[in-house]
């Protein structure tokens, strides 16, 4: 996980948000928006959707700041909001795709493969991205969230359990099942 720049600073910013101080939004966003964007993008695999989710996550954070437990870290709390919104968005997209034009697998994979920090990495990551998108999209929502937080955010299992409001045992089972299923899709073999 990217280093949080001090829980104390976050706590102060959250306290200001809870009092309705909108000026606290910008510094809080500066600290967390990149990480939240990567969570949403890893989950949804679409930059526009990911950006919408990050925006909504901070709006929710502002609206719910007064209910935030002041002793907790803001980072995992924001991650939880982002994951839940990503799951909502994923469901909505899936319903829409079923109702209207189904998204072609190759189109989706191609748009994913265009994302990356540099052109070189983009080219290198094209094939990886396509295969991962296909393997991740067949996972159940929560398993997918566990994989994203573990392997894209390097969160510990305890942090994941806290962020997703799951027991540690459920996180372990979910990670085990998700990786086994991805193995079957990516490498071959029984899930």
């Amino acid at each position: 996980m990217e280093p949080s720049q001090g829980g104390a600073g976050d706590r102060e910013l959250m306290a200001r948000l809870a009092r309705g101080d909108r000026e606290a939004l910008a510094p809080l966003m500066e600290k967390h928006y990149r990480r939240l964007y990567r969570i949403a993008l890893s989950y949804l695999r679409q930059p526009d959707d990911a950006l919408d989710v990050v925006q909504e996550a901070f709006v929710r954070a502002f609206q719910s700041a007064s209910r935030w437990d002041g002793s907790a870290e803001a980072g995992p709390w924001l991650a939880r909001i982002t994951v839940n919104l990503s799951i909502d968005r994923w469901r909505r997209n899936r319903r829409r795709a079923q109702t209207f034009t189904p998204l072609a697998e190759s189109d989706h994979a191609a748009s994913l493969a265009d994302l990356g920090p540099s052109p070189d990495r983009r080219v290198q990551g094209r094939e990886t991205g396509e295969r991962l998108t296909a393997a991740l999209r067949v996972l159940p929502e929560r398993q997918r969230a566990v994989v994203v937080l573990r392997h894209y955010q390097d969160m510990s299992l305890e942090e994941i359990a806290s962020a997703l409001d799951m027991s540690l045992g459920t996180v372990k089972s979910s990670l085990h099942r998700a990786l086994s299923r991805m193995r079957a899709n990516l490498v071959g073999g029984q899930p």
Partner: protein
């Protein structure tokens, strides 16, 4: 050995995921070394984890500057916290201004009709001075506020257009590396038409925004000239220009200033 295998099977995944620590990790690692089937499974799962770790999305940067995102969030928050049904200030100002104008015209006429024949001295008083409802100052203030509200809305809409272009990731012609910018060119042309009204209608009131308005105009003209399916390098060039001029942040700050 079989019992240990059953017990440790789930842990093999967690070992591959790098999620085990301490004695648990050591015990599982020893088992994997001793058990060919578990070793095979562990290696296959490590390949999955390696693929995840090589995913370029891990380092993806948000496609828009922070300032723009902050602006969007602040607008959402402001709208969500406005009292229900409360219209924007310019929507209030417009009918109020119209009512005051009507009063300024009608009241003196009605008063004149209802009165007996006016004395010569009073007849010389201009109608505007006879009405205490609307002074020149009040009219100027209303006009100034309206001009600034229009300018703020124009800048805010322009910011949305520029970001929609900069943030697009939708391919319209992958073979030719072209991206879909949707209705952005058309919206830019509409905005450029609105710009003339904004600048002419309130040159004094929006004087402080002139620099931003000029830069926004330049950017909108570039977008207006684009086709809907644009070469990726053109989108990236436009994005760089917007970033170099810090245009989105300046739009946000100026919008806030104009909205008071």
């Amino acid at each position: 050995m079989i019992l240990a295998h059953v017990r440790l099977r789930r842990r093999v995944s967690l070992l591959a995921a790098g999620a085990l620590e301490g004695p648990e990790r050591e015990e599982t690692r020893r088992h994997v070394e001793a058990c060919a089937r578990c070793r095979e499974e562990h290696d296959a799962l490590r390949a999955v984890v390696a693929a995840l770790e090589a995913d370029p999305l891990r380092e993806a940067e948000p496609p828009v500057p922070l300032a723009f995102l902050v602006g969007r969030v602040e607008r959402e928050v402001a709208q969500a916290h406005a009292p229900a049904g409360r219209p924007r200030r310019w929507l209030v100002a417009l009918p109020v201004g119209a009512a005051l104008l009507a009063a300024a015209v009608l009241v003196p006429v009605l008063v004149a009709r209802l009165r007996p024949a006016p004395e010569a001295a009073r007849a010389e008083i201009p109608p505007a001075e006879a009405s205490p409802l609307l002074t020149e100052d009040a009219l100027s203030r209303i006009e100034r506020n309206l001009a600034r509200e229009h300018a703020a809305r124009y800048l805010s809409d322009a910011g949305e257009v520029l970001v929609s272009v900069a943030a697009t990731g939708v391919d319209c012609d992958p073979a030719d590396e072209r991206l879909d910018v949707g209705r952005a060119p058309e919206r830019s042309r509409e905005l450029l038409e609105r710009r003339a009204l904004v600048v002419q209608g309130g040159s004094e009131a929006v004087a402080s925004a002139r620099g931003v308005l000029d830069d926004v105009e330049l950017a909108l003209r570039e977008v207006a000239d684009l086709p809907s399916c644009v070469k990726r390098r053109d989108v990236e060039r436009l994005r760089r220009e917007v970033e170099d001029r810090q245009l989105l942040m300046r739009i946000r700050l100026m919008t806030r200033e104009l909205e008071g």
